[in-house]
Amino acid sequence: MRIVIGEGSCGIAAGASKVHKAIEALMTENEPFELGSTGCIGMCFLEPIVDLYDGKTLLRRLVKVSADDAANIVEAARSGDVSKVDSITISAEDEEFLSRQTRIALRHCGLIDPVSLDDYREADGYQALEKALKTMTPEQVIEEIKVSGLAGRGGAGFPTWFKWNAARQSVSETKYLICNADEGDPGAFMDRAVIESDPHSLIEGMLIGAYAIGACEMIVYVRAEYPLAITNLEIAIAQAKKANLLGENILGTGFSCDMRIKAGAGAFVCGEETALIESLEGKRGMPRLKPPFPAQKGYMDEPSNINNVETFANVAWIINNGGEAFAAMGTENSKGTKVFALTGKIRKGGLVEIPMGKTLRDVIYGIGGGIRDDKEFKAVQMGGPSGGCIPKELLDTVIDYKALAATGAIMGSGGMVVMDESTCMVGMAKFFLDFTALESCGKCVHCRIGTARMQEILTRIVKGEGKEGDIELLEELCEAVKDGALCGLGQTAPNPVLTTIRYFRNEYEAHIKEKKCPAKECVDLLTYSIDADKCKGCTLCAKKCPAKAISGEVKQAHVIDSDVCIRCGQCVSSCRFGAIVVE
């Protein structure tokens, strides 16, 4: 028997390390079971997760495990009587979260030990590399990727083969293959999961790419906020070097390529490929003008190819299974699978990998289980700060680059933030614009000042100080920034604003004209009062109120002084009679 603990960052955050230590503490010498760890399986809503294996067979998946469960787990592992952990075993319904997915990029995540080259090799690891290096020409590799229809998973969805081919065509002795692991979208974490949980698949995918374009060095630009990913990747690189999978004369084929990690300081703009290159060169992360494209003049002015983690994670699978198998999934113009990071007001949040062509409803309701607390679905923000929101009416939109773009949103890197009726869409737009305005590198006028001005307008709207004409002014600024900004960050920054205006204009108007927030989220626009018929005079709210805004005699209806009230909502949560009215 084997106890395997899911110890990706999210598992650790939920308490997986404590579980690990608790189990370890109970273990004596010569236990009849082993204790191991794996990466992220992607079921955030069930963390910490512990799997019980018999050989390669998964006996039980235990969820929301706490250190208190350690004794039962150890007992079950010792005795083989897994009924001892029935109470924490995953439900059949929750199992569907995974069974309804089709995993390619995440194929090993949560299943293998991330820092075990043997585990990876057992799972067919490095077979694709061997196949490519020994049986295929670089052109054939590119052709296979072309057949697969793989497109950049970082956001833009540019055909991967085209970039590879362009870099291949650029004549130079020195070429670079760069992996963009900056993953700046605050709602996305699939790249982190891949590096943490399956670092060798990234190395293998990159090696195949390096071989295809003729690169001599591979660089992974990963954000410093991902320490576990960096650690696991460092270990994997060391293992690969030792196993002659990296370095000189790889696998005896004559192909040589080295690899290194560059930790980025976490500027969102460094996810933009030319800014990333500047940062790699040790300069301030600011985008360059294109052309010249990186395939012509990239890192150190040499031809460079940049793909993101998820893109590379698909490559070995494609070489192993053939481009056609990949292309068999998806739609006319979007092939294969896509990983989404499902978060927000969703019942089951986590990483979801599904074939292109499924609908948003399939993801949000079919896999995610719908909205938490039985609330009404309002919209989903696709593509993070660069993306847009998609409202309820468009839930049946097919997951496809073009279809999503038609809604005003983007596929993006796969962030999917679900919002319910209690989310203010103006506030939501402001949230993302606050982010992009802060993350603007400051180089071009449109982005530096344009986003700041939009942010100021949104701020005054949510404060109830919006003016007639503000919506139109926002729209004008949005169009100008989209048209005039230098790089993707600025060009896409208006998307959350434009889509919320497009689908929820009435909410903007309510804020500006009636000084009301329909979702009751903008505190400056709320008034708290007490329904005298419902108030029992229990005094609890008055005691809880940090502003001392509530007064009244015992067993008499209380009142809130709205001039003193700071609209913190403490009274609402403390009242047992539902007497607090928020308007």
């Binding site: 603007s440 590198c441 006028v445």
Partner: protein
Amino acid sequence: MEQIRITVNGREMVGEKGETVLNIAARNGIEIPNLCYNGKLKLYGACGLCLVEAENSPKLMRACATVAQDGMVLSTNTPRVKKARKIALELIMSDHSGDCVAPCSLNCPAHTDIQGYLKAIANGDDKEAVKIIKEKIPIPASIGRVCPHPCESNCRRRLVEEPLSVAYLKAFAADNDLASDAPYTAAPEEASGKKVAVIGGGPAGLTAAYYLCLSGHAVTVYEAMPEMGGMLRYGIPEYRLPKAVLAKEVAAIEKLGVEMKNNVKVGKDISFEEIKNGADAVLVTIGAWKGSSIGCVGEDLEGVLSGIDFLREVNMGNRPEIGKNVTVVGGGNTAMDACRTAIRCGAENVYVIYRRTRAEAPAEDIEIEEAIEEGVEFLFLTNPAEIIGENGKVSSIKLQVMQLGEPDASGRRKPVPVEGEFRTLDVDTVISAIGQKCAPSGLEEIELTRWGTIVAAKSTCLTNVEGVFAAGDATNNGASIAIDAIAEANEAARAINAYLLGMPMDFPEPYYSKKDVTAEMLADREKKARAVMSVKSPEYRRNNFDEVLNGFTEEQAREEAKRCLECGCHDFKECKLIRYANDEPIAPERLSGAIHESFKETRLVTIERDQGKCILCNLCVRTCKEDVGASILGLVGRGFKTVIKPEFEGTDKIEICKTCGKCVEVCPTGALKLLK
């Protein structure tokens, strides 16, 4: 080099392969606006002004960074391009905090370059000062004495201690220049062959005549009175503006080539038709020479006269019989001129009747002060109720006592009668100085407002009659201060010149960047009191018309001029940003929000950098790095808060700075300044 052909704005042009669109267009005479481009440096593409539209391309392109391809068809002035450029400029200007022009100049109706001439005076170069002043005011010695100087009311030095004595400094420089061996004279342009007739030789007429003459046109001024100068000659008393000073300035204009015809009244001595037929353009600057009536019983009695009639009589050398007791009605500068003139004419008791209080009186406070010194008695909060006469002649005046009520539309508290309270004064003369009216005659074709003033279009000064323009007190809102008339005359001269050359006459209001400055921002300035000009004693003044002011001493004037804070931008004339901002109308106010505060970086020792004016084009940073190879400057911070500072905020790098000044040279605005 391989050649390529592109089309810009419908014009085919040839470029070399690899050249940018911006360069090819520039070489062929089409300037595509840009603020961050410099041919010596690597492409940057930040300002977004050079956006152009290419045929068959959905996106706008940055001309500075677009390598021209053979056969490209581009436009730099389509509505889409203009819109994009406009909003880019508005965004830049919304975070550009600086004063293009100093507030004194902005608030001078004629927008005289005050900072410029004060600097010249401070440097002891009065001729240069006069040259600068005469770009707007051809009669500075006169105007310097009489102007109520809105410039001083807006001088930022008042936030330190007191405003500069701008008007008197102007008079000082002009007096010195007039007294010099070779007073400043501008040179007229080559004769245009066009003729302009100016009707009325007051400040407006003289000003327009001067500038039209300088533009090469043949100008004739027709003046109804025996001498030129209008109200400056016949309204302002000698003790404020010695007529000899005015005469010198008039003579200088005549010497320039302006033909002056005195004692010619249009409609009487010559017909308007005749004047029109004899000129290519006519400017009407007849002023407002009729006093407004008091509007109470008895105003037709003998001994009731208007302030301007009284002043004109005195200024013509006559001494009207006014008796011992004189009452002047009104609280403006004309009332002050009248009461002080009455004192000088021998009246024993001179009263000023004003229905509000001293605080509301439109007269300059110094005028009230000096009048009191000379013995004038002010009866504030009184209003004439009735002028009482004996045998058809004024004997006394009944005054209604007033009090201040609610503020009126102008914001001043409205005077209301105190029911039943009156007082009576025995008087020999009542002088009404409560306003002036325009009374045009002989100009019947010209459309008038319902107040009897001439309807003249804003900016062009055009009347309803083809080729006839009007300016000054005679137009629109009527009488105002001399500098207003001069300002309008400047506009009229500009419009007439354009009209004569067949050019568009409408000149849009220029756009200026302005900054809000508080006293705290100037807290570090050394305090230096305003120069006080010595005046003749009240006792001396009462019985003669000698000039009250003694003038500044040389030392006083130079020191006073040095008090100027130089609020206007040193780079205004070369600034690319403001030039583009004036190409098409922009409205950055609609985008107003946070700004980069005007922090002055002085660590570079000899180079001062004003953060408020910096537009982050990064040219200084790039020049220092790529051209000079020093890399002293760098960008610090992110997003809107990005600023340029010595790189990594260190001090060690600053020591490398050799003050080569290249960063200052490339700065497209006035953010960088060499201190020397």
